[in-house]
Symmetry: C2
Subunit: 269 residues, 2 copies
DNA sequence: CGTGTTGTTCCACACAGCGGAACGCTTCAG
DNA sequence: CTGAAGCGTTCCGCTGTGTGGAACAACACG
C-alpha cells in the first residue's frame, strides 16, 4: 500500500471502528489486534477512547465490545444528510411496488460497497440484506455494476487484486469478469445468480453523481427460484429507470444519447 | 475535566467526527480547529485520514467537509444493532397511532442525548426533530426525564455545570430544576412547553435497560398550540406505557410495585 | 493443577505527530 | 488597484505522546 494520507494513529482508530461493520457484532481486544496487526495495548487504548465517547460499549460480562449509542446517533445524522439515501426513498418505494421483491440501495465506499437502505419484499419467502456491512465489488449484481462503471484506474486496481470467492458461483477469474463487465456496460444493468449469496438472485443498475462518477447502485433481489431469466428481463427496465431517476436527482446530466458514458477517467491527479 | 481514558490523539479523531453531528452539515478546517482548540495542521491531518476512509467527504469547490458514505454505512449498521432502536419500532408505531403526533426515540449518549428515531405526525402542521444531533439533558421533556432518572452522581455532575438557555423557557436555575426533577420522578413522566424548541410542546417517559439504568426516552411532541394540559394529560399514560414496554423488551424487570425505582447509584466504583 | 486463553497495566524509549510559521489563494474594504 | 484578513495547505525541527514488549490477574479447558 502506498502510504495513506493523514496520520497513522487516526487511521487505526477508524479501522477499529470499521471492523465492527465488517465482522460480527461483538469483538474482543485480541481478535481486533490480530485482525489489524496491532499490539493488544494499542487496541485496548483505542477502545477505551471509543468507550469514553460512547462510540462503542463494553459488555462487562463477556468483555466484548460492540457499537454504542453515539455511533447510532452519528449514523442517524449521516444517513439523514447522505444525499443518495435521502433522495432515494420515493424511487425505491416505486420500484418495490413494481416488483414486489426486496429492493436495495448500495453506496460505493472505500474498500468495497455497502447496502445503505432496503425495502423488504412482502412475499413470505424473501431476502433481506445486511445494512452497513462492506462487501467486495466483484460479487453480486450491485457490486458488479459499480465495478463496471468505475473509472478505469480504480477498476484495474481491483481486477488486479485477488478475487475472493464468496460462494461457488462468484466469478473469480479475471478474464471472465472482464467480459462480464463489458456486457454490463453495454446492457446498462447487471444481474447475478448466487454470486454473493448462494440462494439469491438480483438485478442492479448504477447511479451516477454530479461529476459523472458512479455513486452507488439500486437492485431488486430475492430468492433465486423467483429470479428466472424472464423475471430478470421484466425487472431490468424498472431497475434501470429507477437508477436513472436517482442519477438525475443527484444532478447528473446525460452526456451521450441516453446511456451514461462509461468509465470517464477521474479528473485531476 | 479529569483526564479522559484512552489516548489524546484517538479522542481528537472522534471529537472531529462528532462535531459533524452537533453543528451544521459542512465544516471548514479553521472552524473545527477553533471549536476544538487544536491547530489547523492537526485538524487537517485528521480530516485527510477521514477522507481516505470515506468517513467524510471534501467538497472541492467550497473546501468544506461533510459526512461521507462510510459513516452512513457504519451508521446503518450501528442503528441496526442498536437494541433500543431495533426493539422500539413497533411500540413507536403504536404510540403514533394513539396520539397522531410525532413520536421520538431518544438515546442517552456521552455529552447529552440524541434522537435516534422518529415517526412524524400526519398533521399538516407538525414537528420533526433533528436525528443524531446532541442536545443537553436539562432542556425538553426527553432530556429532563433522562436527567431525572440518571444515577445520582452523574446527575449532580450535570446540575453543577452551567445550564445553558436554548430558549427563554429553558430552566436555567438549579433549584427550580431540582424540584422539577423530583416531580418527574414522582409522576413517572416529564413534559415541556418550549424549553428546547420555542414553539414545541412534548411529553416523555424514560426507558430502562437490563441493569436498571436509564437508556433513553420516548416522547410525543408537536406544535405548542396542540399541547394543552388536557392533551398532555391524555397522552401521558400512553407514553408511559410505551416506555414501560420498551424497558421490558430490553430485559428490565420492575423492582418496586409497578414504578421503576428512581436513581439507583451505579454499582461499582 | 498446569497450560492455554483472555483483558489489562506498566514503563523506558523512539519516533510519529505536533504546531508555529510560511505559502498561495480568494474575498472584501478602502 | 492595493492591502489586509481570511481561508486551506505544506513544511520541518523538536518534543512529548503513544508505542509495544513484557508482566499481570482472571478465567476456561482438559
Amino acid at each position: 500500500m502506498t502510504t495513506q494520507p493523514g496520520t497513522e494513529t487516526a487511521g487505526r482508530v477508524i479501522d477499529v471502528l470499521l471492523l465492527f461493520t465488517d465482522g460480527p457484532d461483538d469483538l474482543g481486544v485480541s481478535w481486533i489486534a490480530r485482525e489489524l496487526g496491532l499490539s493488544k495495548a494499542v487496541v485496548h487504548r483505542i477502545l477505551q477512547t471509543l468507550v469514553a465517547r460512547g462510540m462503542v460499549e463494553l459488555d462487562q460480562e463477556s468483555r466484548l465490545y460492540r457499537l454504542g449509542p453515539t455511533t447510532a446517533a452519528l449514523g442517524a445524522r449521516a444517513l439523514r444528510e447522505f444525499d443518495l439515501r435521502a433522495v432515494a426513498t420515493d424511487t425505491l418505494r416505486r420500484l418495490h411496488r413494481q416488483t414486489h421483491e426486496t429492493v436495495t440501495l448500495t453506496a460505493l465506499v472505500p474498500g468495497g460497497r455497502a447496502y445503505i437502505d432496503q425495502i423488504v419484499s412482502t412475499h413470505e419467502v424473501k431476502m433481506t440484506v445486511e445494512l452497513g456491512r462492506r462487501f467486495p465489488l466483484h460479487a453480486g449484481s450491485s457490486g458488479k455494476c459499480l465495478l463496471a462503471f468505475l473509472p478505469q484506474p480504480r477498476r484495474e486496481e481491483i481486477l488486479a487484486a485477488e478475487l475472493s470467492a464468496l460462494t461457488d458461483k462468484t466469478i473469480t477469474d479475471e478474464e471472465t469478469l472482464r467480459t462480464e463487465l463489458t456486457a454490463i456496460r453495454d446492457l446498462g444493468y447487471a444481474s447475478s445468480q448466487g454470486e454473493r449469496q448462494a440462494d439469491a438472485g438480483s438485478v442492479a443498475a448504477p447511479v451516477f453523481g454530479l461529476d459523472g462518477n458512479v455513486r452507488g447502485s439500486v437492485s431488486v433481489c430475492g430468492p433465486r427460484s423467483r429470479f428466472t431469466p424472464q423475471f430478470v428481463g421484466a425487472c431490468a427496465p424498472h431497475v434501470v429507470e429507477a437508477a436513472h431517476d436517482l442519477s438525475t436527482l443527484l444532478g447528473w446530466k446525460a452526456t451521450g444519447p441516453g446511456r451514461p458514458t462509461a468509465s470517464l477517467p477521474a479528473p485531476p491527479p
